[in-house]
């Protein structure tokens, strides 16, 4: 489903987009890393992950072209098996992997997978944010690690079908530009934690059939439907919006609107929800704080009332102090 188109039809278009400058730079960097049959990339894998093995001379780069994602996934699995048997450095450029997500196959395309001479496999992730003096932006590295963990999981499914099952290394190679240059440098990132988190989340996901069964008959998400019908259709799928959604989901602005209209406290952050106990809407919380509702024996309510008292005491007589401010309006 094209969630971006859906979001636009709902009247809350997503704000995702990539600058062509970033896109060009990213592509140029990836091409550079993989140039000459991946010589530089294999050298980095050897240096950072497998220094004990023979150094790569000329790695194999099998052709992975095929028709459709299923075909490419099958071709990738075949190439992986052959490379493992061959026992030589092999680079799989943009392989295709299948992973079962909530009962439906999702196709994933890692930047590269390297097969070591000992038959083990390594996921390679190429990113265009810089590694400055050996360290990179922690948030971006974390995102890359989570992304790679999914590839590792998908590769493990492929490995499980082979006998003997080859090892999928739990350290992935993160390749980034060095300092301010366009030269690649790399670092091994251990993704065991991200892998187990992702595995648990995948196991716990509600299966798509179950979600579909719960929907009313005839629910349709076609973006060309009239907005009210579409809104009703999207409403029928339960969702709990939190601010973190803004950075990942195309429908976040739509969900945020709904969440704000309902007055849900999670629209201000997940941590609030934990603090406020059973009070989930802004009105509930404020009326409990004012003493209009809520059970005073409830520790969350008692703490709220105390907080409201202390706040009023500290601000006592300051209301209306915010006089007219000189200056312009923002924007």
């Amino acid at each position: 489903m094209n969630k971006a188109a859906l979001a636009s039809s709902l009247g809350s278009p997503s704000a995702f987009g990539q600058s062509q400058f970033a896109f060009m730079r990213g592509n140029a960097f990836e091409a550079r890393v993989k140039a000459d049959g991946g010589a530089e990339l294999l050298r980095l894998v050897h240096e950072k992950l497998d220094a004990g093995s023979e150094p790569p001379v000329a790695g194999l780069v099998p052709d992975l072209a095929a028709v459709g994602p299923e075909g490419r996934a099958a071709r990738t699995a075949l190439a992986l098996r052959e490379a493992t048997e061959a026992g030589a450095w092999t680079l799989l450029d943009h392989p295709m992997l299948a992973l079962d997500v909530a009962g439906s196959p999702a196709y994933l395309e890692p930047d590269a997978v390297v097969v070591h001479p000992d038959g083990s496999w390594t996921v390679v992730e190429i990113k265009s944010f810089p590694m400055l003096d050996g360290s990179a932006d922690a948030a971006k590295v974390g995102a890359a690690a989570r992304q790679s963990a999914v590839y590792v999981l998908a590769l493990e499914r492929v490995a499980d079908r082979l006998t003997p099952a080859p090892e999928v290394r739990h350290s992935v190679l993160l390749v980034c530009p060095k300092d301010f240059s366009n030269l690649p440098t790399a670092s091994a990132v251990d993704v065991r934690k991200q892998r187990s988190v992702t595995r648990r989340q995948l196991d716990r996901l509600t299966r798509i059939e179950d979600i579909a069964d719960a929907l009313p008959e005839g629910t349709c998400f076609a973006p060309d439907l009239p907005t009210p019908d579409l809104t009703a259709a999207v409403e029928s799928v339960p969702a709990t919006y939190a601010p973190e959604c803004l950075s990942t989901c195309e429908l976040a602005f739509h969900c945020r609107d709904r969440s704000r209209t309902e007055g849900a406290v999670t629209s201000l952050g997940r941590s609030l929800r934990a603090e406020l106990g059973g009070l989930t809407t802004v009105d509930d919380v404020l009326s409990a704080a004012r003493g209009d509702s809520g059970d005073p024996a409830d520790p969350a309510v008692a703490a709220l009332r105390r907080a409201a008292e202390l706040r009023a005491e500290a601000l006592g007589g300051r209301e209306g102090l915010r006089s007219e401010v000189p200056g312009r309006t923002p924007c």
Binding site: Q20, F21, R25, F180, L268, V282, G327, P330, C331
Partner: protein, 540 residues
């Protein structure tokens, strides 16, 4: 986030306007700060696209790199930036006052007072958002190892004069910004959201336009509506009405406006280079100038709203009176500035890529100490912050209901009066726990003795109020009778904290030359590290 902050946010949602989180301003604002609104090129590390910079809100200096991938144009930009920033820094560096500092005498090993210079004021740099601080660090890192032709005639691509020096200053400012409570380099979104709670999440507060809209919405509009407009509304061409505060630009701006303009500029430049005679060259130079002017206008259109918003935010902050201790922290900033000025004047090499073990440990210790100091000072300056600490059981306030004079049992008995305080707060006091109150700006310590539950009037039980008995232990003078004013009297309103007001430094670290081998050994002579190698991509 404390429950009081949460409550303020929810009130903001309810009323549609931001609610106060502080009653005083917790950061020093300079009379004449230097505002810096940079833009960067997407996907490139440290390739600025342009900036507005200056100390005069009506006359910012616009700096633009028409082709951000061209190293020479980047250098020209940095040289211009140095031309604005360094005179501002130098002006503060010249005005000094005498101060004292305790140093260890190298010969006797004793601690002695030394007379040193302290700059009377320090330059203050303001950027719109936290990403701006990171960008300042990045610019600093990209410049400080460069060599000018004067420093090293052999260097293959010499940097313009002053660029390496600007790099060292920006590095110092970026590093100082990591110290809690410092104000040398401030991100406006951080400072503003410290003082007001909006009805949106802290993630969304990173958007300067939306944040200010919550605090000061236009007439006839709620803060919530104005913030939403600032965040999302686009014009007919698909451009955001309120461009992001940067340094990253909106992808729609890059793709639809900037990329075509840069392409025209590139074409005009190629055409000029290929011109065959003077007449043709004149024409083509005209085209190039026009293409450059177009990019300048684009950059101006994206930075100007942010520039205005930054000054608007500063106006808002100035409506709050400065907290008492903010000046104290600013003095520390002035020491930091003076220290770096002295290092530059002494001809020391730029800050290394990686700190040695002792420097790194010192930095971490400073940050921890300053964090504790900041938390204590903010609470002492501001009843609203103190309310949060009281709610958390880290402080209590109440009325003195009884005083009993008592004395210590030593040979020369000193006063140890017992004070009973009735409070509605519920502090977590352990046996003989130390508590502190501010007495004329200095902390006075007391010891917890006991709780007295259920006073005679019976009203206490309903409100959860109870009495706490404390024994005051210091700041009462040397005599047998406490000095007047040093012991609270019946009926006084007092506030005691469980946290200390002043921070003690940790154990002293060895000098860098004595770094043990477990930590890499002595770092050796400070050297000038080599500049980053120039790669072919840098030179178009």
């Amino acid at each position: 986030m404390s429950l009081i902050t949460t409550l303020a946010r929810l009130e903001a949602v309810d009323t549609g306007r931001a609610q106060p989180l502080a009653t005083v301003r917790h950061r020093h604002l300079s009379e004449r700060p230097l505002v810096f609104v940079p833009l960067t090129t997407a996907g490139e590390a440290g390739a600025p696209l342009g900036a507005l910079v200056g100390t005069d809100r009506d006359a910012p200096r616009l700096l633009v790199v028409p082709q951000p991938r061209d190293r020479d144009l980047r250098f020209a930009f940095l040289a211009e930036l140095a031309g604005v920033v360094l005179p501002y820094i130098d002006a503060c560096g010249e005005d000094v006052e005498a101060a004292e500092r305790t140093e260890t005498d190298p010969e006797t090993g004793k601690r002695v007072k030394v007379e040193v210079e302290l700059c009377a004021d320090a330059p203050q740099l303001i950027v719109p958002s936290r990403a701006g601080i990171e960008f300042v660090r990045l610019l600093g890192r990209s410049m400080r190892f460069r060599r000018t032709a004067e420093q090293d005639p052999e260097t293959p691509h010499p940097a313009p004069p002053h660029v390496p020096l600007l790099g060292r200053w920006l590095t110092h400012y970026g590093e100082r910004a990591r110290v809690p409570g410092s104000a040398l380099l401030l991100a406006l979104t951080d400072v503003v959201s410290r003082h007001w709670a909006t009805g949106q999440s802290s993630l969304e507060d990173q958007h300067l336009g939306a944040l200010l809209a919550w605090i000061d919405p236009p007439e006839n509009e709620s803060g919530a509506e104005a913030a939403l407009r600032a965040e999302l509304r686009r014009d007919a061409k698909g451009q955001l009405l309120c461009p992001p505060a940067g340094p990253a630009t909106d992808p729609a701006f890059d793709n639809k406006l900037l990329a075509p303009a840069i392409e025209r500029y590139d074409r005009a430049r190629t055409a000029l280079a290929a011109a065959e005679d003077g007449l043709q060259a004149d024409d083509r130079l005209g085209e190039l100038t026009a293409a450059e002017r177009e990019i300048r206008e684009l950059v101006d259109s994206r930075t100007r709203p942010t520039w205005d918003a930054v000054w608007h935010g500063l106006d808002l902050l100035r409506t709050l009176p400065e907290g008492t201790h903010a000046a104290d922290r600013w003095t520390r900033d002035r020491w930091s500035f003076t220290g770096h000025r002295d290092r530059v004047l002494a001809g020391e090499p730029p800050q290394p890529r990686r700190d040695d073990a002792v420097t790194a440990a010192n930095k971490l210790a400073t940050r921890e100490r300053e964090q504790a100091r900041l938390e204590a000072q903010e609470a002492l300056d501001d009843p609203l912050v103190m309310a949060g600490r009281r709610l958390a059981g880290e402080a209590f306030a109440g009325e003195v209901t009884d005083i009993v004079m008592a004395y210590s049992e030593s040979k020369r008995p000193s006063p140890r009066p017992l004070v009973t305080i009735r409070t509605d707060d519920r502090p977590h006091l352990a046996e003989r726990a130390k508590v502190y109150r501010s007495l004329g700006g200095k902390p006075q310590a007391a010891e917890f003795v006991e709780y007295v539950e259920g006073e005679a009037d019976g009203a206490d039980i309903d409100t959860g109020g109870r009495s706490i008995v404390l024994r005051i232990v210091d700041k009462m003078g040397r005599g047998k009778e406490p000095e007047s004013g040093s012991v609270p009297e019946k009926g006084d309103l007092v506030c005691f904290t469980l946290f200390e007001h002043e921070q003690r430094g940790g154990a002293k670290l060895p000098d860098p030359e004595d770094t043990p081998w477990t930590h890499g050994g002595p770092p050796g002579e400070a050297t000038h590290p080599p500049a980053d190698p120039v790669t072919e991509e840098d030179v178009l």
